[in-house]
């Protein structure tokens, strides 16, 4: 009987898979493009922070290098990896939730609500470092709630924490819950030791992921990147304007994308659910800490918020279960009201729209490209395709793309020449270290074709006014004039320059 029930729950993973299916049709996002760029260089023998520069910790690039080694520079394969990863995460969650004796109905709800919440994030906010953190996050949560006091437990918690730190330093904030529970339960020597061991293991994992850099030729670049990062992190400065913009974004992301219905269910779980209080309490605490980490990072995007999805959706599932169990469905205004609220203010309509994207991807590619092309935003799939098509037609050897905000173009090129900076702002910024300038110039002196964006002015990244085009002609005007000629201007923003023979 129990085995049947177990089969039944794992069977729900098929529904999860169907709900996650649209993610396979998503195009490359700007961040994913950067990860693929870095991963591809490493897979080809390149060195991080020497042949490729970005501000994330190394682990994400090694993961992308691994996928690149398996499948090559294939967009669908990368999405397929994410699809499989999320299904694995859900499978693991079922296993762990059953061990925590969470009601089957709640687990089943989770298996439906989580993939819905993930899929409606669309292409830009899926397959981020936050998405890859789901597995270590749910493991860490399980071990925290399970709270067995064994060496094995400490080891696993340390490993999970190390994975989180290696993906994004700020995710390590969940460690504070361990400290809180030590303080809340009375300070005991062995508990403190366990916490220290856990931290040491976590740092060891982080050290392992950093070691190719620390002991390789990328060390100077790593130091330069950290010095750049410390300056970069100062912007935008704390103040009323930043707080206003953060609150606005939080309200918008929470209400529109997480959705009002899901927040309602989460609140319902917190205030009404009578069982599994420990699970609910720890979920709420972890969410709060991760929420704090989002605020600390200052630059709020929707994908930053997804870091607490594994636990938020668990609360949503508890609330949903409570609602279904306790609400009297009748033919009256209240029932009608809730039905409308749950349709209009939930991810349901977005999900329907996401399936439409899949349909267009298969049957109407033009409409699909149009959907992902909105000049004035970061959605520029059509631009990248057109630019890549032109470069492929006219010769793509030693192509250097100078833009900020997404270099998807390079993944549609016939040749696989890769340059060092996925965002031109890194080396064009006034705070760029000398090593960045030197590294960029190596690329510049080697390139045969340049595409320079004149509409990518993003002060938050450049930390100066002007587009890549403006700054390049401010800094390298003489070199460009004497060594390159203008071939054409595509889409009124990409200046194509060819090396003079």
């Amino acid at each position: 009987m129990l085995k049947n029930e177990s089969m039944n729950i794992y069977g729900y993973l098929i529904i999860s898979a169907i709900l996650l299916l649209p993610t396979l049709a998503f195009p490359i996002s700007s961040d994913m493009s950067v990860f693929m760029h870095g991963g591809s260089l490493i897979a080809d023998g390149g060195v991080l922070y020497k042949d490729f520069f970005d501000i994330k910790p190394p682990l994400i690039y090694y993961i992308f290098a691994f996928i690149d080694l398996l499948f090559g520079n294939n967009i669908v394969a990368f999405r397929l990896f994410d699809f499989a990863y999320q299904l694995t995460f859900l499978g693991l969650s079922v296993f762990l939730f059953r061990k925590l004796k969470i009601k089957d109905m709640i687990i089943k709800s989770y298996l439906i609500l989580f993939p819905i919440a993930y899929t409606v994030l669309n292409y830009r906010d899926t397959f981020q470092t936050e998405s890859l953190a789901f597995i270590p996050m749910i493991l860490y949560f399980y071990l925290l709630v399970n709270s067995k006091k064994s060496a094995k437990q400490t080891l696993y918690m340390g490993l999970a924490l190390g994975a989180l730190l290696s993906l994004k330093y700020t995710l390590g904030i969940v460690f504070l819950i361990g400290i809180y529970s030590v303080l809340a339960n009375g300070v005991k020597k062995e508990e403190i030791l366990r916490i220290v061991y856990q931290l040491l293991i976590a740092f060891f994992v982080l050290f392992i992921t950093l070691s190719p850099t620390l002991f390789g030729s990328g060390f100077d670049g790593f130091l330069a990147t950290n010095s750049y990062l410390s300056e970069y992190a100062k912007y935008p400065p704390w103040g009323a304007e930043l707080l206003k913009s953060m609150l606005k974004k939080l309200a918008s992301f929470t209400g529109e994308i997480v959705s009002i219905s899901f927040v309602f269910f989460a609140v319902l779980a917190l205030v009404k659910s009578k069982f599994d209080r420990k699970i609910i309490k720890y979920s709420a605490l972890i969410i709060s800490l991760l929420f704090l980490s989002v605020l600390i990072e200052k630059k709020i995007n929707m994908y930053h918020i997804t870091r607490f999805y594994p636990l938020l959706i668990l609360l949503v599932s508890y609330g949903f279960y409570h609602f279904v169990k306790n609400f009297e469905f009748k033919k009256n205004i209240v029932t009608g009201f809730f039905i409308v609220v749950f349709i209009v203010f939930s991810p349901f309509l977005r999900l329907v729209n996401t399936y439409k994207i899949v349909l267009n991807r298969v049957a109407n590619y033009g409409s699909y490209v149009d959907y992902y092309t909105r000049p004035g935003s970061f959605n520029l799939l059509g631009h990248h395709l057109e630019l890549a098509e032109y470069i492929n037609k006219t010769g793509s050897e030693k192509f250097l793309f100078l833009n900020t905000g997404g270099n998807q173009t390079i993944h549609y090129l016939d040749s696989d020449y890769k340059y060092k900076f996925p965002h031109s702002a890194f080396h064009l910024s006034p705070i760029a270290p000398k090593l960045y300038n030197d590294s960029f110039e190596e690329d510049l002196y080697d390139a045969n074709t340049l595409a320079i964006d004149n509409k990518d002015s993003i002060y938050m990244i450049f930390l100066r006014e002007g587009s890549s085009y403006d700054v390049m002609y401010e800094e390298y005007s003489e070199y460009l004039s004497s060594n390159f000629y203008q071939d054409t201007v595509l889409l009124d923003r990409y200046y194509i320059l060819r090396r003079k023979q």
Partner: protein, 509 residues
Amino acid sequence: MIQNKQHSNWLFLALGMVILSITILFPVGSDLSIFIQGGMILHNGGELYVDFFDVKPPFVYYLFELLYGMFDKNIIGYRVFDFVYQSIFLASSVYIFRKLDIKSSVTNLFLVVTPLLYTTMGYANIMQVESMFFLPFIWYFYLSFKSDNNYKSAIAKGILLALIFNLKYTLGVVLIADIYFVVSNNRLNKRTVINLLIQVSAFIFLTFLFFLPVILNGNTEGMLKFMDYMSVYSNYPTWSFGHVLYLIESLTIHFSDNLSLFLFIALLLAVFKKDESKNSRLISYGLLCFILLIITIILERKGLAYHYQRLIPLYSLLASFGVAYLLIKIKELKVVYIAIASVFILIYSPLPRYINLLKVPYYYFSDGDENYYNSFIDGKYGAMVYKHKKVAEYLNHNNRSDKTLLMSANGNEMITFLDTDYKYSMAMSSFYLNDISPIELQEIVFDELEETETLIILNNDYSPITFFKNISSLGAVKENKKFQEYINYYFELDTTIDNTFVIYNRRTN
């Protein structure tokens, strides 16, 4: 003990008034400037639908005629009026909620939540017809819920309904809630039908009185023609899948941001657990009215911020039930959890917006005009009030006469800063400059143009809702051959202020 609780209501009313008091320092908003324009013209002897044209029911402009007689162009006077009006609404609510046996803590929360929501709507979105709806509505809601089956109550409801309807026609939807409530409670009998007829008769009679000045002045035909033309506006934007998505997005944005996510969640919680409350029936009835008012927003199609204001009385009341429940739950928690909950509540409540508004009194009393006016940003248009003020100062400084015509589709704030009274008839340039405007309206403005000495045209007032395409007043003038040729021939460019206001003078030779 009970007396203590009642005392606390008055204390919270005082707190609510303190919260509201910040609105006294708000400058003129775009819609308020149009109401004042109407009031000014009527006060100076003009007639509705001859000397002034706008979309709202006549009652609104008669009210502003009265207010203009009292306050002239002194915006603080209007803002004080609004403050007093909203305070009376809050005091009425205290009285009504006691009569309805609502818990004192819920009433106290209402007295804080309502002014917070109202104030944080911002200077351009308050003192709208939707704001004036609050007071008659709360009484109508009370009488309707109380269901006194007598003729006095029916007459009172009829009068209130007429006030509501004549502020905005669609708000008359509350009558449906009243009828539904009677029917759903199985109280439909001869007496209730008669009382309903009395209510409707009183409503029709008073509405007739509000239209009487127009009829007596012989302007009925003009009114009907203008109304007929205005009905085109209500058909725009046209229904489509895209527009439905826009409305859903608008609803989501307003419930998660402007009206605060925390309060909407509290509202949902109150409805979910209403059966645990002694005010269960009241919550159901409140929900019914709330839904009907949301439907009116959807039917009006525009989904702008001030349209949502009509929801505030019931939104606040229902949310207050939920917040009261949440506070009880939070009190049971450990300090750490109380702190965490408080942070989330703070972030997703209207409080940060209100704190941001505290700069208004600071700038007003300490910093002079520039910072004060620059703190009122009108979305993508920037600090429009300040720009209007600068243009008015330029005109005043150059002793321009009252023959100054403003062509703007987004508000006429400038006229409240001018030394002379504004006398031209159209509330919005799009009335006569869009592609479907009746020739009669164009001729009225053309006649006005012929006597104008100074002409001001906005070049950034893009208003697809009223122009039916993305064009500014200046762009629309350039497309209108008759206007364009006349202006080219008889006017010369004087200056452009703030890259927005293009000022022309009549040529002297």
